[in-house]
Symmetry: C2
Subunit: 114 residues, 2 copies
């Protein structure tokens, strides 16, 4: 089956995120068959952030599609990220992402279980 993506506007991404985020579900939670809970494209406009948050019992790689931003890792280190970067964390790790650039920052997020 082929369907068109749809998005929801969300705020407070990661609990403390700033601004709006556009979340395009690729596979809904109920169709991930218990392996995880999110598989989506996320678009952060300039100034928007995903707040620092933990993934207990799960992990969430980000795959950057376009734009640039600052990725904060479990250890607090900050790395400038661009298209083609893969931001991983360990199970139970923490992360955050800030679009401090001038273009939309688009990424694919997949949350899956330990």
């Amino acid at each position: 089956m082929v369907r068109k993506e749809t998005f929801e506007v969300r705020t407070k991404m990661g609990g403390t995120g700033i601004g709006e985020a556009y979340v395009y579900d690729i596979v809904k939670k109920e169709d991930l068959r218990g392996h995880g809970r999110l598989y989506a494209k996320i678009v952060l406009p300039p100034g928007s952030t995903i707040g620092w948050h933990q993934h207990k019992g799960e992990t969430e790689p980000y795959y950057i599609l376009s734009g640039e931003g600052d990725f904060t890792d479990t250890d607090g280190s900050v790395t400038k990220v661009h298209a083609g970067d893969i931001c991983t964390i360990e199970v139970n790790g923490y992360h955050a992402l800030e679009n401090n650039g001038t273009e939309d920052l688009a990424l694919i997020a997949l949350i899956y279980n330990e």
Copy 2:
């Protein structure tokens, strides 16, 4: 951890695919923790295809990033797909994808278990 994507050139995608495909691993099989076996961006140049193949005991949604092509579903129906289209199949389903356009066809593929 942030790492840069890398790719492998593959042929005979899906067993009978035509031409070359560029496969950029997002998460390697061993890091999918038993939930699946592929999470990658795939780029099909014009003329390249992923051959008709089955996913026994698993499923594989395609998320189209750019370009256009023909997606063949389990029932043999063919749908023209573009950026933002999500091509799903049921567990044990079949699919194929053909880039018969003039630009690269880029997609995200995730193979996960039933």
